[in-house]
């Protein structure tokens, strides 16, 4: 392996890291406030689709990313209303969102662009083309989001309240903190970040919309969140590890050393092994996934 390949693997890994990290960081925030969602997979897929539509309609990649965020916000609000205000189960809406995406996206691609299963996006976000591959401005943005989210979560009154609401909503309530408001907007923020990650996939990174392009990243992001110990900075590193093995697999695939199926499994398995091995057993927020009712 020459130095050029190594650089190119690193560049590719940073590109691949973005959706995982954004989703993980969003999920960390939402679960720190006590709201579990397993719907990120579906949000990634749908915001990839809607983000591409917005990009093409407006002729702007940035608008495409905003479209993805808007998609995330819509589903975050839906999930928030069901779980926070109506005190519903936290897992079921996610199943619904994931199943919805499996229907909406393939149908949408066919209905909107008239192609089956795949569409080449015509308007994409600007990126820096190098001989090692393209580098998106979304890489530093993602790193910044992870760091800022960590800082806000652990250093500011807002973060203190969010964590209190996820650990012991009764304590927060007794001190006059509006538990429902904090939980709701935390859920929205979590899904909005996933929405950004989804739009990034179609508008900035791959340049296509495919019917199954989320490829389990929403679930990997959840695993990464758990193994990070609900810490955005560790989730950033975990997400990059996934990207690294994703890139390595892409690099290994044409060499035909081992069967292709095993290579495709590589990023998923290695991320889990390494992050689980390093972090070990973390304790989730105490009221994670439990609705809070006063009476």
């Amino acid at each position: 392996m020459d130095i050029g390949s190594i650089i190119s693997i690193i560049v590719t890994s940073l590109m691949a890291m973005v959706p995982i990290v954004l989703t993980s960081v969003g999920a960390v925030w939402s679960e720190r406030a006590g709201v579990v969602s397993i719907g990120y997979e579906g949000v990634l897929l749908m915001s990839a689709f809607f983000g591409a539509i917005v990009a093409e309609l407006t002729g702007s990649g940035v608008m495409g990313l905003l479209g993805g965020i808007a998609t995330g916000i819509v589903f975050g609000m839906l999930h928030g209303v069901l779980t926070v205000y109506l005190k519903g189960n936290h897992v079921i809406p996610g199943i619904g969102i994931n199943l919805l995406a499996l229907g909406v996206v393939p149908f949408g691609i066919l209905a909107y662009w008239g192609t089956a299963g795949q569409h080449q996006v015509t308007v994409t976000l600007w990126s820096w083309q190098t001989k090692y591959g393209k580098i998106s401005p979304m890489i530093p943005v993602t790193i910044a989001i992870a760091i800022i989210t960590w800082w806000v979560l652990f250093k500011t009154p807002l973060g203190l309240r969010v964590r209190a609401v996820g650990e012991n909503p009764e304590a927060a309530d007794a001190l006059g903190i509006n538990v429902e408001k904090y939980r709701f907007w935390s859920t929205v923020y979590g899904h909005a970040l996933a929405g950004l990650g989804g739009a990034y996939m179609s508008v900035a990174w791959l340049g296509v919309v495919q019917k199954a392009m989320s490829a389990g990243r929403g679930f990997i992001a959840l695993a990464n969140m758990v193994f990070s110990g609900w810490n955005p900075l560790v989730a950033l590193i975990g997400g990059w590890l996934f990207g690294f093995f994703d890139a390595l697999a892409t690099w290994l695939a044409p060499l035909h050393i081992v069967p292709g199926q095993f290579i495709l499994m590589l990023p998923y398995i290695m991320t889990l092994i390494i992050v689980a091995g390093i972090i070990g057993k973390a304790r989730p927020p105490k009221w994670d996934g439990r609705p809070y009712k006063r009476e």
Binding site: T156, L160, E167, E170, A171, G176
Partner: protein, 512 residues
């Protein structure tokens, strides 16, 4: 001119969503600067009334006036803004935060997105602690602090918010006698500073010692308000219960037999990996009630879980009838003659949404007597068995098919006792058997435990209620941080000596 009371509640009615009428038109008023006792049995509505005053609950009907002005509290924030703060019986602390962050939560004092600055808060707290001679470590996660300290943090949390009216819900339940004295001293100091204190309790002597006036609640209604100086414990007891209370337990002397349960050098870890039980050794003999006294959270729960097979001990042996049962699963232990009345009946003892019958045979359903030949439950037999238990134990239930949650706390507890005794055990482990149970059922359950002892069974009793331990036990161990400070006979020691042991002084060291 008549003085305007700082708090006045008029005609408060509270109906819970499930239809329970917790308060039936309560009038309650508190004077500025007094310590006002709120006395009543479990379920009398004390906590509900105060949760309404602190904004946690909304009254169904009724009006609240603060300093003569009508208020409507939508949330605890509104009550705090009016200078009313409550320390709940179950602490509302974020366990992973330290005291400082628990206290400043919601009052960080600057923009939501700027870096938290704790210097000012630390200064203010230091001064508060200095004034009250009331110290807590500010930088240790509260989950690593003993309950007595956690309670101080709760009180500081309210004082930090400059409340004028401090409500304390059964604050002494988790404290040693020495800590109770310290708490009372602080409350008196607060009173001297002009604060108003509402003190919820069901303990007569505490109310007599601390308060200026007492309001007694019974079944959601006010029985009356009296000046403490004009009251006697007998009067208050009669107001509280509605009849003369004689909790008399008949306990003839009895020579204990062979050891049934032997604990040898037992070590058990708690949930957070700490040593909750440290090298404990004792035995419970046939025809004996062995009591374990101590402030809650000193390893009693972990000890009982280890004995009943719910938690794996680290080291040591548990021997039942000469058989090593260490780390065996619960079903095997029941087969070997153990019965368990767990400390939390709604969480471990019963399945509230299931029927009386289903609950009555929980854990017995696989026994031949309740099965048809194909291995299904014979519900006819189960119902007849349940009816028999209901008659024998005088359980008041709407019927064998009613959900168990429709029974009162006392009757739920009697059902558990009935079920466990119907296993024909040789060893009964009773954990907090009368907690949250009305007086009549308490009397019944206590007498029943004595009856079991008289029949030659071994009884291991754990209770936070010291009177219960003293009344029932033949021998008792006083537990402190996972160890026995002494194993004594109740008649050999004074209450003060027990109090010292509960606070961590060994029996041998007491008389030096």
């Amino acid at each position: 001119m008549k003085e305007v009371p700082i708090i006045e509640m008029k005609g408060i009615v509270k109906v819970y969503p499930d239809g329970t009428k917790a308060l039936k038109g309560v009038d309650f008023s508190v004077k500025q600067g007094e310590i006002h006792g709120l006395l009543g049995e479990n379920g009398a509505g004390k906590t509900t009334l105060m949760k309404i005053l602190s904004g946690m609950l909304h009254p169904t009907e009724g009006k609240i006036y603060v300093r003569g002005k009508e208020v409507r509290f939508k949330s605890p924030a509104d009550a705090l803004a009016n200078g009313i703060g409550m320390v709940h019986q179950h602490f509302t602390l974020v366990e992973v935060f330290d005291a400082l962050h628990n206290i400043i939560l919601g009052m960080e004092g600057h923009g939501l997105l700027s870096k938290i600055n704790v210097d000012k808060a630390r200064e203010k707290l230091k001064k508060l602690m200095e004034d009250l001679n009331f110290r807590v470590p500010l930088d240790v996660p509260v989950e690593d602090l003993p309950v007595g300290v956690q309670q101080r943090i709760e009180i500081l949390k309210m004082l930090f918010r400059d409340v004028d009216v401090l409500i304390l819900d059964e604050p002494t339940a988790v404290l040693t006698p020495i800590e109770v004295e310290e708490l009372f001293a602080v409350l008196r100091k607060l009173k001297a500073e002009g604060k108003t204190i509402i003190f919820i309790s069901h303990k007569l002597n505490e109310v007599m010692e601390l308060t200026d006036r007492v309001t007694v609640l019974r079944k959601g209604e006010v029985v009356g308000t009296v000046k403490t100086s004009e009251a006697t414990p007998q009067l208050l007891a009669r107001m509280m219960v509605g009849r003369d209370v004689v909790l008399r337990i008949q306990k003839p002397p009895k020579e204990p037999g062979e050891p049934i349960l032997r604990i040898e050098n037992l070590w058990v870890k708690g949930d957070r990996g700490e040593d909750a039980v440290k090298d404990l050794a004792f035995e419970v003999r046939a025809g004996e009630i062995f009591g374990i006294a101590g402030v809650e959270g000193n390893g009693q729960t972990e000890l009982i879980e280890a004995i009943t097979g719910l938690r794996r001990p680290e080291k040591g042996r548990i021997i039942l009838n000469d058989r090593d049962i260490t780390g065996r699963p619960p079903k095997e232990l029941y087969d070997a003659g153990m019965a368990h009345i767990p400390e939390d009946r709604t969480r471990m003892g019963l399945i509230l949404d299931m029927t009386v019958t289903e609950n009555a045979i929980l854990g017995l359903q696989w026994r031949k007597e309740f099965q048809r030949w194909v291995g299904t439950v014979d519900w006819g037999k189960a119902k007849r068995h349940t009816e028999m238990l209901i008659n024998e134990f005088e359980i008041v239930a709407p019927g064998v098919d009613a959900p168990v949650k429709s029974l009162s706390g006392g009757n739920q507890q009697k059902l558990i006792v009935a079920r466990e005794v119907s296993k024909k055990p040789v060893l009964i482990i009773a954990s907090q058997p009368t907690r949250g149970v009305d007086v009549a059922s308490t009397e019944y359950i206590r007498n029943y435990l004595v009856k079991l002892r008289n029949e030659g069974k071994a009884v291991l009793l754990v209770s936070a209620d010291l009177d219960e331990i003293l009344q029932l036990s033949d021998r008792m161990g006083i537990m402190y941080e996972g160890e026995f400070m002494g194993i004594v006979k109740p008649e050999e020691v004074t209450t003060e000596e027990i109090g010292m042991m509960m606070g961590g002084i060994k029996y041998e060291e007491l008389n030096k």
